[in-house]
């Protein structure tokens, strides 16, 4: 009986130490993450980079693959959400135009984007 109690106490102590080491002191180190796991500000930056590099290398398949790497596939809700948020926030045309062009080339067109483009036209 006493042995069983000692074993149980040992198990609990060991389990506690295991949690302490596994979650706290030596957690699993992630080195091979994907763009989908980036911090939100880096994800925004990633979207910008996809759009800007598309201006230099207009390879739509590659842009699509890059968006997919951050978990954004058709109808590209993350891209649309960021564009609309930046339009609302009054971002500069220089920052918005590459994103809007990419979205349109991907076949995405929303009323907010249409309204922005109509306003932007002289």
């Amino acid at each position: 009986m006493k042995r069983g109690r000692l074993l149980l106490v040992g198990l609990l102590v060991g389990l506690g130490l295991g949690f302490l080491f596994g979650w706290g002191l030596w957690p699993v180190q992630y080195h091979d993450t994907t763009p989908a796991q980036l911090r939100p500000d880096y994800r925004d930056e990633y979207l910008r980079l996809v759009a800007l590099s598309y201006q230099v290398e207009p390879d739509l398949a590659q842009a699509r693959a890059r968006l997919a790497a951050m978990g954004d596939t058709a109808p590209f809700p993350q891209l649309v959400a960021r564009i609309e948020a930046w339009i609302t926030a009054g971002a500069s045309p220089a920052a918005l135009e590459p994103l809007i062009q990419l979205a349109r080339d991907l076949g995405v067109d929303t009323p907010v984007m249409r309204a922005y483009l109509q306003e932007a036209q002289p």
């Binding site: 102590v13 060991g14 130490l17 979650w23 957690p27 091979d32 994907t34 880096y42």
Partner: protein, 299 residues
């Protein structure tokens, strides 16, 4: 008493093992807010590549540095060089190539393409001879600002209120010579027709106190080859082993081509037609050329 401690140790060991299996294997800490250096190698490479292309587009160097923060410099250098080489091979605009090369150089990368596009050579202008609009008057001809009153009646006097008129010689306008002339054409017969260009300039250098004329290659010059149904362009200097002013083109048999330097407008530097070699006795071989062009002005 001793047996009791053994049971306790066994319990701790089992518990520890179970805890680690659970925390490392079954329910590990999940990272949602990672940053670029933690991404997988191919994603990191793509991040660097996109940053370079974004810089080529917007020219925002500060932002490019921020985007590349905390990434390994060697990885950055390697990827920037690959991006530049790919951009050169794809015929991206010169301004984009220069920015890519500048960014690569900024991170200490070095390659022939970096030297060509980020070096001083890229700001060499096409050698267009210019003429000085005026010739300054000789010192003796300068009028005296003060009047003189001498006993000699033939002494020239000037009115102090009038400004002195410089002795101006207006050059007779003559058409400027073309910036390059063909210095040598070397013809050969190859299985596939090729056109190689070597842009050179003659410069004066001082060696041990003596001035000497030397012929140097001109890198970073854009060459255009317009055919009857196609067009191609290349930059000199991407094969330094062949010379800094070297570039070559694949051409089609039985086609006519016009060669331009800088922009594909105006009078071509050379016009060529690829034809079969005759009398070689080695099957189908085609005329190929190495044309050496020399800048007519100073580079």
């Amino acid at each position: 008493m001793k047996a009791s401690w053994v049971w306790l140790a066994v319990g701790v060991a089992l518990g520890l093992a179970a805890g680690l299996i659970y925390t490392w294997g079954i329910q590990p800490v999940e990272f949602y807010d990672t940053y670029p250096p933690l991404m997988r190698e191919d994603f990191r490479a793509d991040w660097i590549r996109m940053t370079a292309l974004a810089y080529a587009y917007d020219g925002d160097l500060e932002r490019a540095h921020l985007r590349l923060q905390r990434l390994a410099p060697e990885e950055i250098r390697q990827e920037l060089l690959q991006t530049l080489d790919a951009a050169v091979a794809s015929g991206r605009p010169l301004s984009a190539l220069q920015r890519l090369a500048t960014l690569a150089q900024d991170y200490g990368a070095d390659s022939p393409a970096v030297r060509v596009y980020a070096g001083e050579e890229t700001v060499i202008l096409l050698s267009t001879p210019t003429r000085a609009p005026t010739v300054p008057p000789p010192a003796a001809a300068a009028p005296s600002p003060t009047s003189t009153a001498t006993a000699t009646p033939l002494t020239v006097t000037t009115t102090p209120t009038l400004p002195p008129i410089p002795h101006v010689i207006l050059p007779t306008p003559t058409p400027l010579p073309p910036p390059y002339r063909i210095s040598q054409t070397i013809e050969s017969c190859l299985p596939e027709p090729r056109l190689a260009i070597s842009l050179t300039a003659s410069v004066t250098v001082t060696v041990r106190g003596r001035e000497q004329r030397q012929t140097i290659g001109l890198p970073g010059k854009e060459l255009w080859l317009l055919g009857t149904d196609d067009a191609d362009h290349a930059f000199t200097g991407l094969r330094p082993a062949q010379g800094l002013g070297y570039a070559d083109f694949s051409v089609k048999p039985e086609h006519s081509y016009n060669l331009y330097i800088g922009t594909p407008t105006g009078a071509p530097v050379a016009t060529l037609k690829t034809a079969a070699c005759t009398g070689t006795g080695e099957g189908d071989r085609w005329q190929s050329w190495l044309i050496i062009l020399q800048a007519t002005g100073s580079p």
